[in-house]
Symmetry: D2
Subunit: 260 residues, 4 copies
């Protein structure tokens, strides 16, 4: 018996979450949707600590949460749902979550929160171009395949999958590719403006262009027509730097920390 | 000539940022403070994309931003400041940012944003107990020492430092220790409540107890009286899992992605 | 040619505004809906001055505004709509707006803003009991009748109508009654609570019981099964008190304002 | 024994509320300040019904409220304060609250909420020009004089005073004048802009010019150098229109409300 918890950051009324929910429901016993009341793109892993979070049951297995994507998954697993789900799937986001942008993503954060609370999790995004999103059904299909695979053969518990799907009809998608996150050039400058009273405001500018988007990256896989699957961790420790930092620190202790 | 950009998530009026700014100012040429208008704890890396961000100059080298910690550092570096700073220091946070909590932290996010935009960065937090925070000056002193060291001998560009300082007088601090992030038990359940109209709400519960807090962790170092210094990365790719996921994916492609 | 602007404070997705729009559309040439993105009950006349307001066209004659009810009507009339509407109708609110509660109402505020910008306006609310709202169609019908009457025979420009409709099938409604606002006993006390960290919070308590609800009041009319129609003004001057205050002030000037 | 409750809409850290509090404290036994955590200008009478309101004691007789001006006065009187105050004074607002703008004012709303809860109340604003506010102390002095007069000779309970003070040294103020609210021309159009993604936003434009600002109005009194004192009511019924609306309604009932 398989029970999937679904969330997103575009909000409960976004088309992506409806199509994801319908797609997954065909292949598991139970689907529960717990999603934000409105668009919370850019919310990252923010968690609401300064007020209680309102949860509104919208119907059988559907809850609206007046909070962030992380709030949604957190309240669902630690209190709202009677039975613990078996997996968390977040999406389908309207727009790619690749490269450095992943850090700001509420879609990926919802999956990370599922992992924090002990569940396998993945985030699914549709990478579309100028015409706007068209092939959510391809993303739903990719999510279903990956979900079934995860059930059959689990991955290590500390890994979540960040999945980006090209906006193509399913027949035109070339396959799945394991990727690392690419990198962008530095973000463009903020765009200044003044309000009618002359006070300064700034719009966050567009992300920088792709800097590291060669073979092996998520950018590259999607551009070629593959579903990009990136393993993401939730432990932010940079283990490879531990030794180096230790040497670096030693000098300080030699100088005597209690002095200056 | 050294120019430090300072931010935090407790807001411009918090005592920690004032003491950090005063402490660092003694040891560099120029300090600029760009901080949120109010407490934004728990904001993580959230970035404001759906409205422009108001910035108010408060005096020489002090700016108030109506936005998140990430917004602060982003607008400062990509537009508000005429000269690019040499380093970003975020804090002093009122409360530890250790273990899994780091993911939700606005303090750490501000430092990460600095790194994203190409600068060395560190986050500094004061880990205090029941009596409330007392020794901000110890944290300011630790920050100053680390800042000077970073100038003298830089670390790899993709590493930021997450620094947690025990709430002790400087003389009682035993030294610096390089650490990895510890881990907590799963968070406690949400705490349900009803509003006066009978509608359900939930408070996020307290974090779980420390599960992995032995030697080598940030929890352990601070408990022993050391300043904990954890290298953190901003690339969320789980490189160690790439091979495993590749094998896992291969099976899918063998099945033919274009079919189901 | 009659063009009606419709707004509310329950948000664009509330059932009341849809039924109002469908009802009015049968009896006028054009209906435009400009409503908040989400529930903004209790917003009163608040106007967003500290950030720009996002407006999203949802389809022919339907706009979603990320702002308050007052923002909706303001942006619609002073910029978004090409042609100025002939009237503003706000509602159908889920719940009565009678007596002292009118001051906090976003539904009434939307109508007031229409009046401020030079248009006839009315606010329509459905007064329902424990079973929840059932007869929105009665309120839509009452709104239609009043709208047609306002076209045929306008009221003074400085008067808006606050309409409250009992939650009854149309055949059981006894007629229209002109009313004044009733009054409530003082609001009940706030309800204290603590968050999990021990910090104090308060819920606003329920409104006080009806104190002045006799013949002639809105409370009374609705209770008897009538549609209550209350003329409301937007000029807050208490003209009847001008003389009294003048006498009261005179003494101060006699004492010499420039001294103390 | 006199106890004054002070609030505002510019927030606890605004200079006006500090100077008001210091000024009144000299002439009464006790002053309690309960004010918003940040600028809430334009909040009107909005009341927070969808979440609990956090209240933080800042020191003896000073409370910070994470809510609107109306929330502040409401929680203070119905729960936070042990002893009921004798009067509510709101201000000193940085900027005039005259004419039609009064409807949007949080400063005036705070006073109205005091009146709703049974207390005498007044709102005090400083009307300044291009150089920014300079003579808060004149406004504090005017408030003190009016407060003492209200104690000695109360006004009818359903009247609050809206006080606007010219930004002049006290010696140059000519006296007090009882006024009605003036009126403005229709507000200027909204100012359209696009965000970097091409989505439409609008700034609320500046208020219209003064249309009715002749003798007897608040605009006129302040321009001449007088402290303007306008009686304001909280009952929005337009009593003068009751008869007219009754005639207007009669026709509808003649037609039979239950038919259409």
């Amino acid at each position: 018996s398989m029970h999937i918890l679904i969330s997103n950051d575009d909000g409960l009324y976004a088309p992506g979450i409806r199509l994801l929910s319908e797609g997954l429901a065909k292949h598991c016993d139970r689907v529960t949707v717990v999603a934000p009341d409105r668009d919370r793109s850019g919310a990252s892993n923010s968690l609401t600590l300064d007020q209680p979070i309102r949860v509104e049951r919208q119907g059988e297995g559907v809850y609206k949460v007046y909070g962030t994507p992380t709030d949604c998954v957190h309240v669902a697993i630690t209190g709202v749902l009677e039975a613990e789900p078996d997996m968390v799937v977040s999406g389908i986001n309207a727009g790619a979550n690749m490269g450095d942008d992943v850090l700001y993503s509420g879609t990926v954060a919802a999956a990370m929160e599922g992992r924090f609370l002990g569940l396998p999790a993945m985030a699914v995004s549709l990478s579309y171009g100028r015409e706007g999103p068209r092939h959510y059904e391809s993303a739903a299909r990719a999510a279903t395949i990956l979900m079934r695979r995860l059930v059959a053969e689990p991955l290590p518990a500390d890994t979540i999958l960040n999945v980006n799907v090209p906006d193509l009809p399913w027949e035109e998608i070339k396959g799945f590719e394991t990727t690392r996150l690419g990198h962008r050039h530095r973000s463009e400058n903020v765009i200044p403006l003044e309000d009618p009273r002359g006070r300064p405001f700034y719009w966050i500018g567009p992300p920088g262009g792709e800097q590291d988007n060669g073979p092996g990256t998520d950018f590259n896989a999607v551009r070629k027509g593959y579903v990009s699957v990136t393993p993401i961790h939730v432990d932010l420790t940079r283990y490879q730097a531990l030794d180096q930092v230790s040497h670096w620190i030693e000098a300080l202790n030699g100088e005597g920390a209690g002095e200056e």
